[in-house]
């Protein structure tokens, strides 16, 4: 088939027009929903924080660290960590009962392989961090105390490294 120049330009112009209309519709939808999506994520995060510290009545956010309070009593700290796993980012929340002791670790979101990488959600792995000194959350080969999962090394290593990196960065400026 042969197309005249005019037909070709018409085709290009038409497709361009469709894409421009599509892009503007999408940015409109995005701007209409962005605030609500952020609110949802914030609510979800609060849910996780409440799960970690059931007695929580309030918290302060300062320099990437959450200070969790029961009225005036400081219950502990929490921070988020994130690292690429086997497929996509794994987002984690770490709770501390004091400056060094881990209260618990929660996986906020992950997209690991179902049945294999998703074992990072299971108790034997995720439960090992409770009570650990935050400085010991490193691989055993690097002198730490944290175990990876056989067969899901990439996913479980990502969790451990995410926590140790984030702890190093975010706990440096801890006060109180």
């Amino acid at each position: 088939m042969r197309f005249s120049i005019i037909k070709r330009f018409y085709a290009i112009a038409f497709l361009t027009l469709v894409v421009i209309i599509s892009a503007s519709l999408l940015s409109l939808t995005y701007s209409l929903t962005a605030e609500q999506i952020k609110l949802r994520q914030h609510e979800q995060f609060l849910g996780y924080l409440g799960e970690m510290f059931p007695e929580m009545t309030g918290f302060e956010y300062n320099d990437e660290l959450y200070y969790v309070y029961d009225d005036a009593l400081l219950l502990g700290y929490a921070f988020t960590a994130s690292k690429a796993g086997y497929s996509g980012d794994i987002n984690i929340m770490v709770g501390l009962s004091d400056k060094e002791t881990v209260k618990g670790v929660l996986i906020i979101s992950q997209t690991e392989t179902p049945g294999i990488g998703t074992r990072i959600l299971d108790e034997p792995f995720i439960g090992q961090f409770a009570g650990m000194n935050v400085n010991d959350i490193r691989l055993r080969s690097e002198g730490g105390q944290a175990d990876t999962i056989t067969g899901a090394t990439v996913s479980s290593k990502a969790v451990i490294e995410a926590i140790s990196q984030a702890a190093k960065e975010k706990l440096a400026g801890i006060n109180g």
Partner: protein, 204 residues
């Protein structure tokens, strides 16, 4: 009105997208592990199918035929992304459980198939009938599959947290195979065989 009704009704049984045309099997296999998921997916598919059929029918005389497929895909992807953002903002639970299959509606063959095979050749009112019929046919099919899978796989059937019915024996010992992908293949295969046996589907 006779023709409109004929185009509408064909998607429900005689040209049912899942059981007869065998289009859109990916979501039919993936999200039919619970009735809620199936209904959420259906709502999204009906919306996208209706919007894309309407738009394609409206622009069908102007669209340059060499770029029609990219144009259709851009239109479909736009609507899917809009649905996806809306679900994320207002229906987070459904958004979480549909997961990757929500954005994958873009490549659901039913939608591009109807745009290319029907809406680009027929007037607006018939395209609306086609979209509604095909959308409801898809809904009917995946709801049937989901009801069977959820009932056998978990022992009870619930709709938006209301338990519709439950079998205590099955609840204690559910056949969890039916919640897994293999169970979806089994259910679809058996349903196809059964429909063929009773003559609901005819070989062409």
């Amino acid at each position: 009105m006779g023709k409109w009704f004929k185009e509408f009704i064909k998607g429900l049984v005689l040209s049912n997208p899942i059981f007869v045309l065998a289009l859109g099997l990916c979501p039919a296999l993936a999200v039919t592990n619970s009735l809620d998921n199936a209904l959420g997916m259906s709502a999204a598919v009906i919306f996208v199918l209706l919007c894309s059929n309407v738009l394609v029918a409206l622009i069908r005389t102007w669209v340059a035929s060499i770029v029609r497929i990219p144009v259709f895909i851009v239109i479909i992807a736009t609507f899917v992304t809009m649905v996806s953002l809306t679900f994320e903002a207002y229906m987070p639970v459904l958004y979480e459980s549909l997961g990757i299959y929500l954005p994958l509606i873009v490549v659901n063959c039913i939608i591009l198939g109807r745009a290319e095979a029907f809406a680009s050749r027929n007037r607006l009112s018939l395209s609306v009938a086609d979209a509604l019929g095909m959308g409801l046919g898809f809904t009917l099919a995946i709801v049937i599959i989901a009801v069977i899978r959820e009932t056998l796989g978990s022992g009870s059937l619930s709709l938006f947290e209301h338990v519709l019915f439950s079998f205590p024996v099955l609840e204690q010992q559910p056949v969890s195979l039916f919640l897994l992908p293999a169970g979806a293949f089994l259910v679809i295969g058996l349903l196809l065989a059964a429909f063929r046996r009773v003559g609901l589907i005819k070989n062409e």
